[in-house]
């Protein structure tokens, strides 16, 4: 891909079609809110559109989008309005899941702390290794491994309490 200040429509369309789900999922994992997730996803792709960075592979693009999505969501979470509203609206959405058992599982996952949630998603769903997640989230490798272990344990305990079959 050549250097360009503003990316072509074709490039944006291709990247959007390929990675919108990933970006949306990352944002949803952090924001737990559909409307804010839409806003964050849009902002991430707008940043991609206006960025001059030259990407060598699609994996490189994907990693860049995940990191940018995480930063965008952090910024939104830091916003004063969001911090005030979050206290009242601290219920994770799981409206996308029709199956009740899956919805329950989803709620348990979302009830995990954010620092456990995203590494678990990236590890199990996106297939990144702990070292890759460490590099991507700019967190120590050992810390990521600790988060993974604690997150799994917490999730397991919560599911066992609810009688979810292991």
């Amino acid at each position: 891909m050549g250097i360009s200040e503003f990316r072509t429509d074709e490039e944006i369309t291709r990247v959007y079609e390929k990675f919108v789900d990933t970006v949306y999922k990352v944002c949803f994992m952090m924001l737990k809110n559909a409307s804010e997730t839409e806003d964050a996803t849009q902002n991430v792709f707008i940043k991609f559109m206006r960025d001059n960075k030259v990407f060598e592979t699609d994996e490189h693009i994907k990693a860049w989008l995940i990191v940018t999505a995480q930063n965008e969501c952090k910024n939104m979470l830091k916003h004063w309005f969001r911090s005030k509203r979050d206290e009242l609206d601290n219920v994770p959405e799981a409206s996308y899941v029709d199956d009740d058992s899956k919805k329950e599982l989803m709620q348990k996952v979302f009830s995990l702390d954010e620092k456990y949630r995203l590494p678990i998603y990236l590890y199990y769903y996106e297939g990144y290794s702990t070292s890759e997640i460490s590099e991507m989230l700019n967190i120590k490798h050992s810390t990521i491994r600790t988060y993974m272990a604690k997150g799994r344990e917490k999730l397991k305990i919560m599911l066992e309490e609810e009688g979810y079959e292991n």
Partner: protein, 288 residues
């Protein structure tokens, strides 16, 4: 819990088709203003350069027109065909002005041969010659006896004359204000006159005007008439019986007046061109 179950939950978190289209439309809409902003940036830069260029041209033109006192520049402009700046009538006037200035300059040079020479070395030599010339007694007889009694005693050796001869000796210089404001003329006229102490000879007040005669370090006499002395604080003296001292340096005169009951000191600063002009206009040397 199996990993597949967990992943199926994550799978479920996906935007709907409507959400995808909506987000994509928003992203593509956000692209348009970028181009517009970039265009406006370039347009603003070009416009700024254009405006600065026009301002520079206009400013330089205004600068040429503002030099109304500099006849030479205007004549050059006229010769260059800039008819929009000058008309024929003004051209003739400016030519006359230049000729007048030249004639006045020649008169000044004739009146003050000491300062005619261009080089400083020659100038100093001529000044010394003048300084060593003996002062004619006729000069003292022309000085009015309006000084204090002490000063009058001093001059009793040479005698004191009447006011009529005094008025003959002092002739106002016909130096234009433009010439005074021209620093070259100023420096030619004043380099020695404003340096060193001046010895008081005589003084009187005529209305609000202060008239005084002084002798400089080179034995030459100078009359200084300060018009509307009220402006300089002389009005504080009901009657000036004596000017005790006058010192002069480049840029100002320092007078000390004996007003009978008290002394009054005041400075006349000469940094203002008009003030210098008044002094030059009303001062004259008694030729030896």
């Amino acid at each position: 819990m199996k990993i597949e179950e967990l992943n199926s939950c994550f799978d479920a978190i996906s935007p709907t088709v409507e959400q995808r289209d909506k987000m994509f439309a928003s992203i593509m809409n956000a692209k348009q203003p970028v181009k517009v902003v970039r265009f406006y940036r370039y347009a603003t830069a070009v416009a700024a350069v254009f405006v600065i260029g026009i301002f520079g041209v206009v400013y330089s033109t205004m600068g040429v027109n503002n030099v109304t006192n500099d006849a030479t520049k205007n004549i050059v402009a006229m010769k260059n065909g800039e008819d929009d700046i000058l008309n024929e009538e003004k051209y003739e006037y400016l030519l006359e002005t230049v000729e007048e200035e030249k004639s006045v300059t020649e008169e000044i040079k004739k009146a003050y041969p000491v300062h005619n020479d261009v080089t400083n070395d020659t100038k100093v030599a001529v000044v010394e010659d003048v300084a060593h010339e003996p002062i004619s007694e006729d000069v003292f007889t022309d000085i009015p006896s309006v000084a204090s009694e002490n000063e009058a005693d001093t001059f009793s050796e040479t005698g004191s004359g009447g006011g009529s001869s005094y008025s003959k000796s002092i002739e106002a210089e016909t130096i234009s204000l433009e010439q005074i404001m021209n620093h070259d003329v100023y420096s030619k006229l004043f380099p020695t006159q404003l340096a060193g102490d001046f010895k008081f000879v005589s003084a009187n007040i005529n209305g609000n005007d202060l008239n005084a005669v002084f002798e400089d370090a080179q034995g030459r006499y100078m009359s200084v008439s300060i018009i509307s002395a009220e402006d300089y604080g002389v009005y504080e003296c009901v009657e000036v019986s004596d000017i005790v001292n006058i010192k002069s340096q480049y840029g100002y005169f320092n007078f000390t007046l004996n007003c009978g009951e008290h002394y009054v000191m005041y400075n006349v600063e000469c940094d203002d061109a008009l003030q210098v002009y008044e002094m030059v206009k009303s001062s004259a040397y008694f030729k030896n």
